[in-house]
Subunit: 134 residues, 2 copies
DNA sequence: TCATCATGCAACTATCGCAGTTACAAAGAA
DNA sequence: TTCTTTGTAACTGCGATAGTTGCATGATGA
């Protein structure tokens, strides 16, 4: 695994689980399937659980399970749950005095925000259950 | 300077130069103005020169100058000249066997490509000369 | 009850991208 | 020829993140 793999891991796992929504899976199983580490899986899926997409349970027969019907989980839900952005942001200029820099930053930031919204909107058009049949 | 500052540096410098298009500036002057290093400036502006937005000359009275009228240089021109992307890309799954992973990657990649196009289109609506008056 | 299994989490390592820096070669003007 | 400026390679430092180890916590069931 390399860069930006959190979203890939999350989507892969959820799409896989969408095939058998009732099935409980351990982070070890998921990690082996995805070719990564159980701790990494728990880190990523933990965010999805916090967002209400998954539930997790400890102990015997514990593990991870979908918390919603797969057709009610869109790619945007997953993207937002991870709380990361695939669109870069520009940092505020620290020299807040120059109006040119301000105008520039504003302009670019506006465009990037619009683009982020476009991304989320496009992702919301597909649910994880649609991936299997796609 | 921190992250994703190449575009910021490029736009700042070009917008600044748009105020006096005929003026020649050295990378030292530009670096001092932008609060960074001359070598970094040359690295970034070198890309803009390769893309035909700037010209550079060595020796006495040498330096950097706009190669086009500022109203003919759009933010998209600058963005594309840098040959970097502000929209993340997902990497091809190495296990090319699973159709689910393929479908997933395809879907996400399609969305990201669309979003990148949207970004470029939005950036092409503004020229660097418009920033000053904005 | 208590051994076992799973998650939760903290801490550490390895790696990658990138800004910053140093050093020097190459080219052009005075 | 000498000074100035770009062009580039090589290195350092930093931040982000995947991977790893270790252990605490809690649930299950024998
Ligand atoms: S800080 Fe204002 S133009 Fe550079
Ligand atoms: S569903 Fe995981 S590799 Fe195909």
């Amino acid at each position: 695994m390399k860069r930006n793999s959190r979203l890939s891991l999350a989507l892969h796992t959820l799409s896989h689980m969408a095939g058998e929504p009732a099935q409980v899976r351990t982070s070890s199983d998921i990690a082996e399937h995805a070719g990564t580490n159980p701790v990494v899986v728990r880190r990523v899926l933990g965010r999805l659980r916090d967002a209400g997409l998954l539930s997790s349970e400890k102990g015997h027969a514990g593990g991870w399970r979908l918390a919603r019907a797969p057709q009610d989980i869109t790619l945007a839900d997953v993207y937002l749950a991870l709380n990361e952005s695939l669109v870069a942001s520009t940092e505020e200029p620290e020299t807040a005095e120059c109006s040119l820099e301000h105008a520039l930053h504003r302009r670019v930031a506006d465009v990037l925000e619009d683009v982020e919204k476009t991304l989320i909107h496009r992702l919301s058009e597909t649910s994880i259950s649609e991936i299997r049949g796609a």
